[in-house]
Symmetry: C2
Subunit: 166 residues, 2 copies
DNA sequence: TCACATATGTCAGCATTATTGACTTTAATC
DNA sequence: GATTAAAGTCAATAATGCTGACATATGTGA
């Protein structure tokens, strides 16, 4: 298919619908690998997300974690209590502001997070290899534009400028 | 960044991690538009998914819907009962096999599905417009490779061959 | 026709993850 | 000292998934 035809077709309702389904099934596959590991350990997806963000920004406060996850304090509390009880996460009183709790992974938690993210990265890495760098660039570009501007702060805070707005 | 550098970087653990976060936030944004409409109507994401697949394959049986959604009969039942009770979905006894129930949207259900999908398509369409057709091609290509081969059947059954394996 | 398989529907119970509202404790700030 | 802010907790509710058990209607093949 030539680009000129593509330009006509990729914005039709049906074209968009097909991409929506692809995204649905891809996201389902994307979460399935860590989900299996989590289940073995009696944890859920919520624990994974918390571990992920604590891992990539060690020392973040509970408030910051709430913001990035976009859930309520009460929802996070249950998850966090479990992670601390399992000694995956440690909570330290802030040195500047003693009201704050700074969260980080323990060595045990770090190992578990590695196990989870390795499984997830494997699928993505293999997809990227098959698709090639140019396709990955397009993938990133589209994702960046799908993201709501209200979440930009999170992406920039926790990522490192990969949200290409080309 | 030149492609040669890109090729070195796009497969590193950190590069992959950034893309994983993009996918997380993008999926969150992607579901937020219909979620708001659903909430107003006292329904959830599960109802949306059911409406979506009934809409794009009218007359499908309960079994087929179960397969494509990947949930249990009991989980679907609650959702489907509600949709039928609201007169969004109608269930008709199969003419060839009277055990089967063939599902389709009523006019009311069709209008509601339109409302939901229009909101969702709007975000995707705008992202596609900003990203351009080449990026969309890459997006599709990567998604296709992320999808687990076990789900291919669903994609092919309900899509129309857009899963480009480049 | 009888036995079995299949498609669907339903009941009860449970887990996870989200919500809201109300409240406490501790600490910082004005 | 009063107010604000960060964190933690308790209770109730809801949506969505699960398993197990079972009922009903229908198709199929011995």
């Amino acid at each position: 298919m030539r680009v000129s035809e593509n330009e006509l077709l990729f914005l039709t309702d049906d074209g968009i619908r097909q991409h929506i389904e692809l995204l649905f099934f891809a996201y389902k596959s994307f979460t399935s690998d860590p989900d299996q590991i989590l289940e073995k350990n009696g944890l859920g997806r919520a624990h994974h997300r918390a571990l992920h963000f604590i891992n990539c920004r060690p020392g973040l406060t509970v408030s910051e974690l709430l913001d990035v996850l976009g859930i309520t304090k009460q929802s996070l509390n249950r998850v966090l209590r479990r992670l601390i009880e399992l000694e995956y996460v440690q909570s330290e009183i802030g040195s500047l502001d003693r009201r704050e709790r700074h969260l980080s992974l323990t060595e045990k938690g770090s190992r578990f997070e590695q196990e989870l993210s390795t499984a997830q990265r494997k699928r993505i890495r293999e997809a990227f290899l098959k698709a090639g760098p140019e396709a990955v660039g397009g993938f990133r570009k589209v994702l960046g534009h799908i993201i709501d501007p209200s979440l930009d702060e999170m992406v920039e805070k926790f990522g490192t400028g990969q949200k290409d707005r080309g």
